[in-house]
């Protein structure tokens, strides 16, 4: 900010009285709080935000176009790369969409395994969010405790999927590998451990006065606003709208489980935190029930052809990722390659309300609000 001005210019400025000006601050594309290559242009008046403008596209890889140039099965690994934190739910959703399109039967056991792995992944995603969010707020320690729990999930999933991040575990008509008793025992042990840990987090974080002061009444989103901007997932539910695809339009075998949709009261960042914490408990409930009801039988429908060529037609399929509602639109022209593929991702729609919410808040709150949306940048850009 060193300004080189001539003495005449200086005199002119001083004689005219000191003037105040606003300035633009470039937050990102490389900034610790954006967790990826998101760029937010902040128009600041001192430390207050006059206007904010998210600039996206820094990690655009053309996934939709890739989907239109290769067979259904070949595109499948891409789904893990869109939302690498909720990779399993994306795998699950894409498979379910294609199966619905090609009318493929899925064995019950496979559906149960999918639900368990998706919910484990959801807990992992929420945990990662929690750690990263608290780190945004300046608390470093919880991150490493939370990482410990996420590590347990990764170990469980690693045993059956062979991966720790981009699983690609599902197949059209089932899953890649059957689960064994070790997996079931691991899940049960994890549920027990996680319930204890959730209590610890509650004691450590929820009541912390500094955290409450940072999160409460910050980034308020009314239910009307949330609907208008098309929010989904925990961001929408925190505003008090009870909407969850797993409940409202159940896919897979979600309709067979008993779980609640946690909602917030006023839609501030604190509510978004509470909703995610409560969702982890609900996911544990789902896993617990699924483990209990796990049917025997085949884990994959082996009659599915390697090269799928669904009949001409189109399909729109939605599923609930950890960040909200994901929509997949696929048009088939009867060949083995989709004619058109389009993805509606929750981070993208959730980001759209950022500019509205951060107007007039402090720079520190921009970080708190942006973090509470749980944005995954590769999912925004696709």
């Amino acid at each position: 900010m060193t300004i080189n001005i001539t003495s005449q210019e200086l005199e002119r400025r001083i004689s005219g009285g000191l003037t105040e000006q606003t300035f633009w601050l470039n937050m990102g594309p490389q900034h610790p709080a954006t967790h990826g290559v998101l760029r937010v242009l902040l128009h600041l008046d001192g430390e207050r935000v006059v206007e904010a403008e998210p600039v996206i596209g820094y990690i655009h890889r053309g996934h939709e176009r890739m989907g239109e140039t290769r067979p259904y099965a070949q595109f499948y690994p891409n789904t893990s790369r869109m939302d690498y934190i909720g990779a399993m739910t994306y795998n699950h959703g894409y498979c379910a969409a294609v199966e619905k399109m090609a009318s493929i039967e899925v064995p019950a056991r496979a559906e149960y395994i999918r639900v368990i792995s998706s919910e484990l992944n959801r807990i992992g995603s929420h945990l990662l969010w929690l750690g990263a969010y608290l780190m945004d707020l300046g608390a470093f320690t919880p991150f490493l405790y939370i990482w410990d729990d996420r590590e347990a999930i990764n170990d469980i999933l690693n045993k059956v999927t062979g991966s720790r991040l981009t699983y690609s575990y599902n197949r059209f008509g089932g899953v890649h590998m059957d689960v064994d008793d070790e997996f079931m025992a691991g899940c049960r042990a994890f549920i027990k451990r996680m319930r204890k840990r959730l209590k610890t987090y509650d004691r450590l974080i929820t009541g912390n006065i500094i955290f409450q002061k940072r999160a409460k009444d910050v980034g308020l989103i009314s239910p009307e606003q949330a609907r208008q901007f098309g929010l989904s997932g925990p961001c929408l539910r925190a505003s008090g709208v009870e909407y969850d695809i797993r409940k409202k339009e159940p896919y897979s075998v979600y309709s067979e489980f008993d779980f609640d949709i946690p909602v917030g009261r006023q839609g501030d960042t604190y509510d978004r935190y509470l909703v995610r914490i409560a969702e982890m408990e609900q996911s544990l409930r789902i896993i617990e029930q699924a483990l209990g009801k796990m049917p025997d039988g085949a884990y994959i429908n082996d009659k599915v052809p390697r090269d799928l060529a669904p009949d001409p037609g189109e399909i729109y399929f939605t599923f609930e990722s950890p960040r909200g509602e994901v929509g997949i639109f696929i048009v088939s022209d009867g060949t083995r390659i989709p004619y058109r593929m389009h993805w509606k991702t929750p981070s993208y729609t959730n980001l759209s309300i950022l500019a509205e919410t951060v107007r007039g808040v402090l720079v520190a709150d921009v970080v708190a609000i942006m973090g509470s949306f749980d944005l995954v940048i590769p999912e925004i850009d696709r």
């Binding site: 060193t2 608290l134 300046g138 608390a139 320690t141 490493l144 940072r214 402090l362 720079v363 520190a364």
Partner: protein, 339 residues
């Protein structure tokens, strides 16, 4: 041309005067200053080691284990790494200010060490205005930070520097007010005198409120979490020292850890009886107390999230300062009644 001095005592006087400056006093100062520079470095290395290890154990990991026994030499390796790093100056920066800024931050810290009584006799300069000297020189710190933020030609740095200045101004006042309560009880600004006045009871018993205010405000004064607003890494990348590299950055680092030592030492002197203690020599007691306070500050850093800037200011102006003022008035009242 003036005549040569005819005063027969001229040379004697000159020698006397010169020996006053070149004599023991100078040597004491010189050796003392060198010892301080050595101590500052070793203290910073020890504190970095302590900070990383404590952080590690709070976070259930062993922290560094590779270099030396339990990673004991890791801070030295870090220092070597910083020494050999390139010193970059951003384009558009004000070169002169940019280069002197780390020095302006670091040098006042050295001065403050001069008056700290490590034991009853181990103090470089036992002067009457010791407390005042420490406060005035640690206030200079702010100037250096402002220079650093301004000269970096970076908006994040500038915001960090602005925050730092307003924070330091706000938290200097409760520190002074709470220290003043102790000064009123001892009638002295000499640190050794203050310690001697605590021969029966430590002042933390008489002045618990002042002690708490002092501890909180001095944490804020040294820019540590939960008050590390000027370098809030989630918001401002690294605040005022974003653009500094190599030893320039290391000087900021040294200053931060030395400042931590200074405020902890002041806390020990004002409220914990300084070098007083049974059996062990004074130096050991003093260092024990200081590092106990430092330990508390470090644990706080790895436990709490960061406060927001406006909340931080509100906390100082609306809570700490009124309480400190009340404490001061109350102390005066008691002294008047009892004394």
């Amino acid at each position: 041309m003036s005549p040569p001095p005819t005063d027969p005592n001229f040379f004697v006087n000159f020698w006397n005067q010169a020996s006053y400056y070149i004599g023991p006093e100078l040597w004491v100062s010189l050796v003392g200053l060198l010892a301080i520079i050595g101590f500052v470095t070793i203290n910073a290395l020890a504190l970095i080691y302590g900070e990383l290890k404590i952080a590690g154990h709070i976070q259930r990991r062993p922290a560094m284990m590779e270099v030396g026994w339990h990673g004991f030499l890791q801070p030295v390796m870090d220092a070597v790494k910083l020494l050999v790093k390139e010193l970059t100056t951003p384009t558009g920066a004000n070169r002169f200010l940019f280069i002197i800024a780390p020095g302006v931050v670091f040098l006042p810290v050295l001065v403050a060490f001069i008056v700290i009584p490590f034991s009853e006799t181990l103090v470089v300069r036992d002067i009457n205005l010791g407390l005042l000297l420490i406060f005035s020189f640690s206030a200079l710190n702010v100037v250096g930070i402002l220079i650093a933020g301004w000269a970096s030609h970076n908006k994040y740095s500038l915001i960090g520097a602005m925050r730092s200045v307003s924070q330091n101004v706000a938290y200097e006042i409760p520190i002074l007010l709470s220290a003043m309560a102790v000064v009123m009880m001892t009638n002295s600004l000499n640190l050794n005198e203050i310690i001697r006045a605590q021969d029966k009871v430590w002042f933390i018993i008489y002045q618990p409120l002042a002690a708490i205010i002092f501890l909180i405000a001095s944490t804020a004064e040294t820019n540590r979490t939960p008050f590390d607003i000027p370098e809030a890494d989630g918001e401002l990348v690294a605040g005022f020292h974003t653009e500094f590299s190599g030893m320039r950055f290391a000087l900021f680092f040294l200053a931060e850890y030395s400042n931590m030592f200074i405020v902890a030492a002041l806390f020990a002197v004002l409220f914990l009886g300084g070098w007083r203690g049974p059996v062990l020599p004074g130096l050991i007691w003093f260092l024990l107390k200081v590092y106990l306070v430092v330990f508390v500050v470090i644990v706080a850093r790895w436990t709490f999230p960061r406060t927001r800037f406006d909340q931080l200011m509100t906390f100082s102006w609306k809570i700490l300062i009124p309480f400190a003022l009340f404490n001061l008035v109350f102390t005066g009242l008691i002294i008047k009644l009892v004394g």
